[in-house]
Symmetry: C2
């Protein structure tokens, strides 16, 4: 039972931080932590990563669940960008360019291991915030895309998207989303050029939209990069 002689208790110089900074640091690191470990991860492990003791967490958050809720809030709101709706609706530019730029920026925002994992975990829990987010994608993004596609195809843009239009847009959107899952969750080998993937997916979707829902949508295809 010989204890190593330590002249003074080897405490690593207790540093006090302003409450606001601490809070932000806690939420940020907790996001990374829960993204990796799942929300079953222990508060002691989390505290160790933060370089503080476990009870300190409870000075800033009444319970683990409150901390988790704050993680959700920041993760879900972080990537939302108000410029996107305007970008999609800007008819002075070709629809293909707008869609390419939008999905380029959107995936840049959400295609991180952290975001995707938190998103999946919260989805499996069936949380309200997840349902809310899915509604936002449908109403702010897909509905807008369908309207622009209709306009491009010379169709009426007054009526709400039909169920079939919406579903087809979801399949397209989900296909792109799944690229992120494959890359950052499954860690599969994917086509490294994300822009090319979006471009190809867009070609397929735009070509298909015309054939399925109306007269052909005329858009110039992006040049196909060396294939084969």
């Amino acid at each position: 039972m010989s204890r190593k002689a330590s002249p003074r208790p080897v405490r690593v110089k207790q540093k006090r931080l302003a409450p606001d900074d601490r809070r932000k640091e806690f939420v940020a690191k907790a996001t990374e932590f829960f993204a990796e470990e799942g929300f079953g991860g222990g508060t002691r492990d989390l505290a160790r990563r933060l370089g503080v003791t476990q009870p300190l967490l409870y000075r800033y958050f009444p319970s683990k669940d409150d901390l988790i809720k704050e993680v959700y809030r920041t993760v879900y709101l972080e990537p939302l960008n108000n410029g996107w709706e305007k970008l999609l609706a800007d008819r002075s530019r070709p629809i293909r360019d707008r869609l390419q730029e939008f999905y380029s920026a959107y995936t840049e925002a959400i295609f991180t291991r952290k975001w995707l994992r938190i998103y999946l975990y919260s989805g499996l829990k069936g949380l309200d915030i997840n349902r809310w987010y899915v509604g936002v994608v449908r109403d702010k993004i897909l509905t807008r895309i369908i309207r622009e596609c209709r306009h491009e195809a010379g169709l009426s843009v007054q009526s709400k998207p039909t169920a079939a239009e919406l579903e087809t847009a979801w399949v397209f959107h989900g296909g792109i989303f799944y690229y992120g899952i494959r890359k950052y969750i499954y860690e599969s080998v994917v086509l490294e050029d994300k822009e090319q993937m979006i471009s190809d997916a867009l070609d397929v979707y735009l070509a298909g939209f015309g054939r399925v829902f109306g007269t052909a949508v005329r858009t110039q295809r992006a040049p196909v990069k060396a294939v084969g």
Copy 2:
């Protein structure tokens, strides 16, 4: 400290089952249980659902982890059907029919809350079996689909799929997969007619494949159900 008088201990008639039946019942119910609760769910809660006591689980499985592994095995292998490769390769039928029938059957097998949730949970854990499954989809399904599309488009079917072809097929496949996620995980309102969703997704994919990778793939489109 008055204990309710119970003439005999109210035990619900201990029933003995043959070990093999018990095992199967345990695995089946454990699958449902873990699908809902996640693999953090407790063995006591699981046992309660099974109508047995918790230690009994340990007569059939050395540890909780072993039980979980068996859950994975059955869930992943359950839906795999050897007839699918032949179905996809049967060139006596139009490619569109084959793809429609394949995805109809495939989604019938995996679009259950149970299967999808176990799949997502195991994916988040980064398990080997998940990587293996993704490889199977790529090599047995998508590669085959691409070959058939090439054949239909009059292209060479010798060489391996290009990265771009594979990626486009993944986007298509992932889009359909995401329909299941939306319906059974997010519990969103989706287009109820799954066959129609597959049909539309196929129209888009097949029309797009021709435009993106070669001369147009000529296939008769499925009749569009009342739209609008």
